[in-house]
């Protein structure tokens, strides 16, 4: 029987990535929850076996095993770590994944679920930093264009000459072209 998984993640696009990958691997995602949805209460109701939780979710403390002290939860859940190997745990924490399983579930059945989640969390992280880099590059290009326009007006030179001047200045001062562009724009604003 395929494992039933709850995904707890406020990041909706990431949750969608994980859900899609889990389904493709033959697991059944029975719920995708945001923070504050008290996943512990849903475990019994949804007959879930595994809960994949964003490591920074405040709900994690609620899932922590109360052992004999209490926690009257029909299906006691424990963090998937004790039986897992240290590399899996490190990879999970670094990717931002934590996993809870219904007590007694065999680690070899759970590990594939955790591995899928780790892979998708990583993929999402890469996508996001890639997006960040693209945005930064575009922003820098705009700055350089603007500074070039200022130089062309002030010096009455052509586009290539303005670009050459800026690049030389950047190299002489050992700073990035975007920083030089910023200074030119700021100076122009100051001088009106």
């Amino acid at each position: 029987m395929s494992l039933r998984v709850i995904v707890v993640d406020d990041e909706r696009e990431r949750a969608a990535l994980v859900t899609q990958a889990l389904t493709a691997n033959g697991f059944q995602v029975v719920a995708v929850l945001g923070a504050g949805a008290c996943p512990a209460h849903r475990v019994t109701e949804l007959a879930a076996d595994v809960i994949i939780v964003d490591i920074d979710s405040p709900d994690r403390d609620m899932l922590e095993d109360m052992r004999r002290v209490t926690f009257d939860c029909g299906r006691p859940v424990v963090m998937f770590a004790q039986d897992g190997n240290p590399e899996t745990i490190r990879a999970a924490v670094e990717a931002g994944v934590s996993a809870y399983v219904v007590d007694g579930l065999k680690p070899e059945r759970v590990k594939p679920v955790v591995d899928v989640a780790i892979a998708r969390f990583r993929q999402f992280q890469e996508l996001r930093s890639e997006l960040g880099r693209t945005k930064a590059t575009l922003a820098e290009r705009k700055l350089v264009e603007k500074a070039k326009g200022i130089l062309m007006r002030q010096r009455g030179c052509g586009e290539e000459e303005a670009y050459r001047l800026m690049r030389k200045m950047a190299m002489d001062r050992k700073v990035r072209l975007a920083d030089i562009a910023n200074r030119i724009i700021e100076a122009a604003q100051l001088l009106g």
Binding site: S57, R60, D61, M66, V69, Q82, I89, R90, V93
Partner: protein, 360 residues
């Protein structure tokens, strides 16, 4: 002069938004870390589980922790367990139990005089619990911040003083500190035991009343510690001592400058709360005791082994520790007053002798 010997100067230290993270936050904001040649980033974490896991795998160099957490991690009973070490207590006391208004009103209807007492007699709550049972109502639910915490043990002790047993008479659940106020507001929780300023904030928002403080149950008990993995401590001995030295200076500053400590802690990147609510538990306002939380005096920074043993005894009592655990050995390897003494001596702070170890 210390700089040259530091094994690592750029550190990331974790904290949970609570008043008792003050020594860490102040050491960063007021330059105590910088003075030791350390460049520290404070990482605000949303749960104790997150702090535990990130310290265990090295994403964080060290962190603000519930005092029994490094013990549980070292005993191998927490999900992610590695040998831990603490050379410094960050605070004594500082937790409160807040009862939701709806529950308090029902207690006041039974006995208005007793309901106004603090600590509120748990026997009064038992009358309510019994009445609820006769009427076939759902049992009341109380919340603690973590299974292994002073909060859990204080709640159980207070309920027990009124003949109320967890599971049999009331439910106990875990809710992270920053969500306590929202859960009180939602109305499905009867009472919460949490570190300040969350009790003061609940009172200020008109959601409940503080009926018990840590001082009523276990005055002078170590509440939070600064903990690192043993492996980290062994790889970075000088850096570790430099952090402890900075924290000792910062803790002393916190005790001496409570209003300013509140103002700094309230800032958006730290607690992100109204300054009045943060100041109340630090200054003893809103009817909270003035000595609710202590950062440095009297000998508040010593990670006493007797306190580690007190926590280990509670853990054993509630089935959180395997019976064969060598508690004394665990206390001695995890709680390291010798490291505190070394750091305190370098800072010119008087250190109490061993034989003065306080028993809670």
């Amino acid at each position: 002069m210390a700089k040259a010997r530091l094994e690592k100067t750029r550190l990331t230290l974790g904290m949970v938004p609570l008043v008792d993270c003050a020594p860490l936050a102040i050491a960063r904001e007021r330059g105590f870390f910088a003075a030791m040649g350390l460049d520290v980033e404070i990482s605000r974490e949303s749960s104790w589980a997150s702090i535990r896991d990130k310290v265990a795998v090295g994403v964080l160099d060290g962190a603000h922790m519930l005092a029994p957490l490094p013990l549980a991690m070292s005993a191998g009973v927490s999900p992610v367990g590695v040998p831990m070490m603490t050379g410094l207590a960050l605070s004594l006391g500082g937790t409160t139990v807040t009862l939701a208004n709806a529950v308090w009103d029902r207690l006041a209807a039974i006995n208005p005089g007793a309901a106004r007492m603090r600590p509120l007699p748990a026997t009064l709550l038992r009358r309510l619990v019994e009445a609820d049972r006769e009427e076939g109502r759902e049992p009341l639910t109380f919340a603690s911040v973590h299974p292994v915490s002073s909060h859990t043990y204080d709640l159980i002790a207070w309920l027990d003083s009124g003949g109320i047993a967890v599971d049999r008479d009331v439910r106990l659940v875990v809710v992270p500190p920053p969500q306590m106020v929202a859960r009180l507001s939602a109305g499905d929780i009867a009472g919460v035991c949490v570190g300040e300023p969350w009790g003061a904030l609940a009172m200020r928002q008109g959601l409940g009343r503080v009926i018990l403080t840590s001082g009523d149950v276990s005055p002078g008990r170590v509440e939070k510690v600064f903990a690192v993995t043993r492996a980290w401590a062994e790889a970075h001995p000088e850096t570790h001592l430099a952090v402890l030295e900075a924290l000792i200076g910062a803790a002393r500053w916190c005790d001496d400058n409570r209003a300013e400590t509140a103002e700094i802690l309230a800032r958006p990147h730290l607690l992100n709360l109204p300054v009045g609510a943060v100041a109340a538990p630090l200054l003893g306002e809103d009817s909270l005791p003035g000595d609710l939380i202590r950062f440095h005096r009297p000998a508040a920074n010593v990670p006493w082994r007797s306190h580690a043993l007190w926590y280990l005894d509670r853990m054993a009592q509630y089935g959180q520790l395997p019976p064969e655990t060598d508690r004394l050995r665990l206390a001695e390897t995890v709680f390291r007053p010798d490291l505190y003494r070394l750091a305190a001596t370098r800072q010119g702070v008087d250190v109490p002798p061993d034989e003065e170890e306080p028993i809670i």
